[in-house]
């Protein structure tokens, strides 16, 4: 039964590990957070909707399902391809962004790659602001989190299947918190440079391409048009003309900010951030800005990484 279920996962997550030389265990390896990691158990729990609704941390229900995906069907030497690390959380449970959170632990991701193969930094979608009953602010993900990374393959790869592995550690919380981890790997055949017919970076047949497209569309973009930033001794005022609301999600390595529960969101085109001078932090304002506009249901998200003005820049 378990073997059949594993095969079903492998088939449903098509577009990887399809090489005739590989066996059924090649491709995506997924793991859950409670008890020993067994892909079969994860699917059995999903088949039973009652199991997910009544979350009892003591039961063998996956609170987080982790997968490593790509849309490509092979690794082409001398090119880049996009990898997605997808976490699916049980309803009501969340994992943490590497933000200026009052609590929690950010996700920890470490790659294990063959020699000559490199991976770029992870790209994160915008988190949600989550204020607890106790007034603590965290920047978290509910439901689904897809992280993207660009894998670059050297031109001189040997023509044999290549395995990319990743170790993910997380803290997943609802009213309680549980640690979890997954060891994932992805094995694909290697195509030599110049071989015809390889689909581009993130297109390909099957569901995985959709996952990657969705993740790419969700990535924060560049600074919003018209953004003005006014730095004073203690305040940083962000203005986006035409916005009907703003929210700022500060990253943990940027400038420390105070009173973010109240100051992190505004129903106008202006956000007044306050420096927290007593708290250790970086020099730059780093994070993601959400911009709401009348007429659009979802805000747009923008990466900010702003240096404070030098003394010469300051007017006062």
């Amino acid at each position: 039964m378990r073997c059949l279920v594993v095969c079903l996962i492998a088939l449903s997550l098509a577009c990887q590990g399809k090489s005739s030389a590989s066996d059924a265990s090649a491709g995506v390896h997924s793991a859950d957070s409670s008890g020993p990691a067994v892909a079969g158990r994860a699917v059995e729990a999903l088949d039973d909707p009652v199991g997910l609704d009544s979350i009892d941390p003591g039961e063998d229900t996956p609170l987080v399902r982790a997968e490593l995906l790509t849309a490509a069907q092979s690794f082409t030497a001398g090119t880049e391809t996009l990898l997605a690390l997808r976490l699916t959380m049980a309803p009501g449970w969340h994992v943490y962004w590497r933000g200026a959170n009052d609590t929690g632990l950010p996700l920890n991701v470490s790659w294990e790659l063959p020699r000559g193969v490199d991976v770029g930094p992870l790209s994160w979608p915008a988190p949600e602001r989550h204020v607890s009953d106790a007034g603590l602010l965290d920047h978290v993900y509910f439901g689904e989190l897809i992280l993207l990374a660009a894998l670059s393959l050297p031109a001189d790869l040997p023509p044999e299947p290549l395995t990319v592995a990743v170790q993910v550690d997380w803290l997943v919380c609802a009213e309680t918190c549980l640690p979890g981890d997954a060891s994932l790997e992805l094995t694909l055949p290697v195509r030599l440079p110049g071989a015809p017919g390889e689909p581009p970076l993130h297109d390909g047949p099957g569901d995985n391409a959709q996952v990657l497209h969705r993740a790419l569309a969700a990535l924060p973009g560049a600074e919003p048009a018209g953004l003005s930033v006014d730095w004073s001794a203690d305040q940083i005022v962000l203005t986006v003309p035409g916005a009907s609301g703003l929210a700022f999600f500060p990253r943990d390595d940027g400038l420390a900010l105070a009173e973010m529960v109240s100051r992190g969101e505004s129903p106008t085109d202006t956000l007044q951030l306050l420096r927290d001078r007593g708290l250790a932090g970086g020099d730059r304002l780093v994070g993601i800005l959400a911009v709401h506009r009348d007429g659009t249901a979802q805000p747009s998200h923008h990466r900010l990484d702003l240096a404070p003005p030098t003394r010469e820049d300051q007017r006062r």
Binding site: D102, G104, A134, E175, C177
Partner: protein
Amino acid sequence: MRQTLTAVLGITALLLATGCQGAPQPSDGAADEIVEVVALPMPEGATLAADFTLTDTTGEEHQLFDYLDANKTVVLEWFNPECPVSRRYHSPERVMAAAYSEVLDDDLVWLAINSGAPGNQGHGLELNRQAINDWEIAYPVLIDESGDVGRAFGAKTTPHMFVIRPDRVIAYDGAIDDSGGRGEASENLVVSAVAACRRGELPENGRTRAFGCSVKY
């Protein structure tokens, strides 16, 4: 909030005026002895610890000001035996125990506090006693069910560490180390803070962002 701030500033001013080296020693009749009173440096925006009395898992009471007035530095560790982060610092690697033995001396007291409310993760005498036993915790674990003490200090996570000087100034408030909760730590921030206080200096980082599970108020 404003009133509290005014009260804190008032007390701070008073302490500065009188010298904040902890409880003055009673005179033994040597009236001509001149005692040099050295004021400890004040951190910017100094906050003073509020007094509390809590009972530990053995039924013994502990009052903060008793320790401070006896010229002791007090380390507070917010603790939850069921929080995986709090647990990780006790077992299997005994990071907390190692920090404790590094700073332990006659002038220091280390207290763990559990501010979990009844029904929440990590609450319960038996549970906490078991943890003390299993993880060989050498210091008291105080039970703060109402969460009043946790809220008074602004304890957000488990672990969340505070280092309080004998003059009641909170010299350090934040994470146990500089790992950010992921990866290796290069510095135990409590050990550094205690060392700085003992040198009569302010810790280099007076406040850092703590990590861990939220305190289960």
